[in-house]
Amino acid sequence: MLNLKQLFFFLVFFAASSLLAQDCQLKVSGIIYDIKSQQAIADANVYSQDRRQGTISNSEGFFEISNLCGGELHLFISHIGCSPRSVFIHLSADTNLVIWLDHSNEVLNEVSVAANQISRSLEPQKALTAEIISENAASDLATVLENLNGLSSLGNGAKISKPVVQGLYGNRLSVINNGVVHSGQQWGNDHAPEIDPLMAGSLSVLKGSAAIEYMGSSLGSVILVEPRAMPTDPHVHGAAQYFFESNGRGQVINAQIEQKATGLSWRFAGSLKKNGDQKTATYYLRNTGREEANAVVQLEKRYAKKWQSKLYYSLNSSKLGLLRGSQIGNLSDLQLALEQTEPFFTEDDFSYRIESPRQEVQHHLLKASQLFSMDKNRGFELNYAWQLNIRQEFDIRRAERGDRPALSLSENNHFWELKYHSQSAKGWHWQSALQYNLRDNYNVPETGILPLVPDYINREWGAYFRAYKQWYKWAIDFGARADYILQNVAAISITAPRELLRYRNEFFNPKASLALSYEFSKDLKTNLNLGYSQRNPAINELYSNGLHQGVSGIEEGDPNLREEQSFKSSIDLSYQPNERWNFEVLAFIQPINNFIYLQPQDELRLTIRGAFPVFKYEQSNALLRGLELQTNFDPKGPLRVDANFSYLRGDNREEKIPLVFMPANRIFAALNYELPSWGVWEKLEFQVSNRFVFEQKHLLASQDFVAPPPSYNLVGVKASAERQIANNRWHFFVKADNLFNVAYRDYLNRQRYFADDLGINCSIGLGLKF
């Protein structure tokens, strides 16, 4: 287990020495350490942008810049494989610094450094940094997250997908954006979370006990989207990025500007993304373009040391095209589409045009926080968050109705939270909160079609506590929460004549978790996580009723469904036999009682559009289990090797059949070659990576319209470098995904019924920091 000091992303100690130094005779020196290995880092680059002076650390990690004038000084510290850091100091004397860098691509989670916050989790936390995110600037959230071992994505097309963690997604996996459970139409498998990863500072997954802090329907894990830490520098700084990808001719521009002004820290960020028809190995995917705009405003103010206010606003607005050939009217349409080598409506020419079928979505998040620290060890936090999710989906319709949405939903979400945290003298950390959430889902009556999900108001009251203590080689983290849910639903009958149906539901969901960690030695650590959680049936599982175009079937909800109950146990072991090798193993088992799933019925329902299979939401006992392996080999030379493997199996234990939509097993390996500098270039990195995804064989032929696609292997290459030009730091990179232009289909992408997945995609990126 890491101690608190190590959790600091980097630490700066000021050790002022002489006050007698004359102007322009001052020195800045320091030592640079790797936070994980605690070893000194040699060949790190230290550069002062305002003084145009720089140096490189020696083999002891030591550096020194002399003959400096007093005044404000910015230092930029970078090293291969590390997230670069900026340090701001007011130089009035010779200064000695200690700087911690994280020397890995997957860094420790950026835990808030406030002493009164419990660490995120006992499990080793893997996070994707802003650097990794920006190298995937044109991808959606779930696709970026696939860079973490054990994560996959489920969706409809390459840019409309949702993350899958250990077999759970959608209603069973919450996405936490800046501490707030992301609200929206999470039930739809083709509804991606409306979050731009470029606006985040880090992305990570909480698999253990820390997930208990969040309201919502997660059964075990949550995805954390954390904003960047607020600036500590009194000058205006910023960054800008341009990104181009060949597949879909996508372009991204992204900029941010920030300052810690007196009394108020602020940041503005924004991004624009656009791409046209994407391309498989051989043909264009018509109508798979996207247009997206994002904006973030972040303000933070501290008063009188004890009080702190924060304000965060983000907007995501996007227009997403769905493959034209994927809109079907009935089963025989699907059958004909399956027989095509190229989807219907495929065109020879590229186009940026986005027509129906398409989605137009806007998501607003406003969060206001008031923090009060009573003393060093105790504090309160009051949070309010408002979310507005507006979703319109357009289908191909008769008589110029294509401009009228076929689905139009507006969801308002209000969240209040009062949190208390404390740290006792004996080392106990304590956190507890009262939470309330109000969700109002409304069908905008403009569609001329019976709504897929009804109008409803959902109220949820929750409370939790979590305690944590570390002593000697042991650490314990446990907590419990309870949520009471009251739902008022107003639905329209699907029988003629149409009439109003009202339902009132109450649910009570307890959750509990326990995590233990033990350090056998410095090289061998283990964590055990046990958790019980409950999820009440989602609104679509209770009341959806009618034809679901996506699956060519009639889906019937069941208003009598009960809560799902999950018992999850996981154990992980990390072993570092020497400085070069690092191994990590994680195994989990998760039985879920009353698991809600769509069961095909022995009925074909005759309608005027033909006969459709009927699916009903039913409950059964399910079992998920999985294994994740990860290893790094770093011989401390220019070469580094990373490899990981994930295995998952899901079964319906009562029916003795596999669970559908479980990610296939996969192996990933990457070979990295790194050079500290070459001519004017610095931090040169080259990577060759290989991803092999197995065929999903754990499925019966009767469970799908077509057999899952065969296994596939994708090779990628990447190169990046940095360069200092005048006062600015430039970052360049090029990469190619699916280098050999392999034609493949992925089991979790619904588009696989109609078309191949993406072919080769070359990207270039250009970044600037000022």
């Binding site: 109220r459 639905a491 699907i494």
Partner: protein
């Protein structure tokens, strides 16, 4: 410290109180499902205008669970009929004739007729602005006595220039199905 705590407690109590009033969602607007097709009528008039046969498929609740109503008639052997399809939305008041919408977008629609009967042939008797068939009107000729099924499919946005589509083969047409009904046909002496 106690005052602060009270302040926070009061704020939370206030929000909780606001939260506790149980509002029902307002009654949703029942949509005007003007696009829905509830009924297909297929009328066959023998070319000597002696016989009028009516086929009907009516499903008033759309995708709902009530079974549709199907009515059929018998055809005569060695007879030619002029056939005409009409599509209705009988949930609307007055009843809406969807056939007009289809005819107005004739270039984007086509009816396909597939039969398993040996003694029955069918040909299109109308065309759109591109000279391609629409299939609202057709001609049916019977020869021998036989019986089997005839399916009627209406495709929206088919590729009417694709191979075989003009002749009534939908395989290469693409598009999505708006109507797909099947009638039992008996050709009697």
């Amino acid at each position: 410290m106690k005052t602060t705590f009270k302040l926070f407690a009061a704020m939370f109590a206030f929000t909780a109180l606001v939260a506790c009033s149980e509002d029902e969602p307002e009654a949703p607007v029942i949509p005007n499902e003007e696009e829905l097709i509830t009924t297909l009528k297929w009328q066959l008039v023998s070319q000597d205008e002696q016989d009028t046969l009516n086929f009907l498929f009516r499903d008033l609740d759309g995708d709902g669970g009530n079974a549709p109503l199907v009515e059929i008639s018998d055809l005569k052997a060695n007879t030619s009929y002029n056939a005409r399809i009409s599509l209705l939305n009988e949930l609307e008041n007055p009843i809406e004739d969807i056939t007009l919408e289809v005819a107005a977008e004739a270039e984007d629609h086509q009816f396909f007729y597939e039969s398993s009967l040996s003694g029955l042939s069918l040909s299109y008797a109308d065309s759109d602005l591109n000279g391609k068939p629409v299939g609202i009107l057709s001609t049916i000729t019977t020869t021998d006595e036989s019986s089997g099924n005839l399916s009627i499919t209406l495709l929206h946005m088919p590729d009417k220039f694709a191979n075989g589509v003009e002749a009534g083969d939908r395989t290469a047409a693409g598009g999505e199905t708006d109507i797909s009904v099947s009638f039992t046909i008996n050709v009697k002496p």
